[in-house]
């Protein structure tokens, strides 16, 4: 039996299909989850994909955080279910207070789309076991509201506890404090990041690199070995 990884579709999700595809390429079984359905259908992990859920009205991720499916995701994540939030999914996770801090509009006020260099700072989370700490990777980034902020106390705490999972290298695309691109919760089962690993899983597409694939093989290995 292979691992079942759920991908939530909210109204306005854009990258749910790409995420399902990445999961399939990694060798796991993607399961489509619907925002109005509280049932997670016995999945072993959940990905909240990129997009503009509920139009990102009010604040990015603020309305989706109250969707029926999130009630169960929040409850299960607190009990240890691995959850990955990519871009809009990261915004949903901060709005749901599963991850600390908040996401704001890019400091330059523009939408940005580029191949972004990152450093993997923490290879111990449920989603990063197939990377090496210190590894440099290229992952596409595209967002409007990618500026990570938290107060100095929380930033210091994240750094001290090794909870900064990814950092922007060479160029900070959105004004994120301390070049933070991705973080994890205390338990390491919930990870959020702004760049899009699901867009870097096939050699024929984009930069030709498959630097995003280890996200999905990491979780698969973790679940199979669990």
């Amino acid at each position: 039996m292979t691992a079942r990884i759920g991908v939530v579709t909210f109204p306005g999700s854009l990258d749910d299909r790409d995420t399902q595809r990445a999961i399939r390429l990694a060798g796991a079984e993607p399961v489509a989850l619907w925002h109005k359905d509280k049932d997670l259908h016995q999945v072993d992990a959940v990905v909240l994909p990129g997009g503009f859920s509920y139009g990102d009205y009010l604040r990015a991720g603020a309305i989706s955080r109250f969707s029926p499916v999130m009630e169960t995701v929040i409850e299960q994540a607190k009990a240890g279910l691995p959850v990955l939030g990519i871009c809009n999914g990261f915004q949903v996770l901060t709005e749901a207070h599963l991850l600390p801090g908040a996401m704001l509009g890019n400091d330059h006020l523009h939408f940005i789309c580029r191949d972004q260099k990152l450093r993997v700072e923490n290879a111990e989370t449920a989603w990063t076991g197939d990377y090496r700490a210190g590894q440099e990777i290229h992952i596409p980034l595209k967002n409007m509201d990618g500026r990570y902020v938290a107060d100095a106390y929380m930033l210091d705490k994240l750094e001290a506890e090794g909870r900064v999972v990814f950092r922007y290298l060479d160029f900070n695309p959105n004004g994120s404090l301390r070049d933070i691109a991705g973080i994890t919760n205390e338990a390491g089962n919930v990870v959020g990041l702004m760049p899009h690993p699901e867009h870097a899983v096939e050699p024929l597409i984009g930069t030709g690199r498959t630097d995003g694939l280890p996200f999905f093989t990491s979780i698969l290995k973790k679940l199979v070995n669990a």
Binding site: R59, A62, P100, L104, N106, R147, V149, D151
Partner: protein
Amino acid sequence: MARVVVDVMLKPEILDPQGQAVQRALPRLGFDGISDVRQGKRFELQVDGPVDEAALARIHDLAESFLANTVIEDFTVRVEEVAEVAEAAK
């Protein structure tokens, strides 16, 4: 019936690039002497029935949990009597 206004502003220590963009345009438009602009959001809630303490407490909870993200924003809640609004419209 009354109107309750919720004003939401980014906390002072949070960078507000929208406000800065507006501020930078001011000299070009001939407005001098404005050294800072910060941009917020205003929600107008039309409330059915009396706005008593219980109703205000509920709106406060709504503002705190949904309309504002208190990690980055401050908010205020105040009642605007509809009669006053009608008066102002004359």
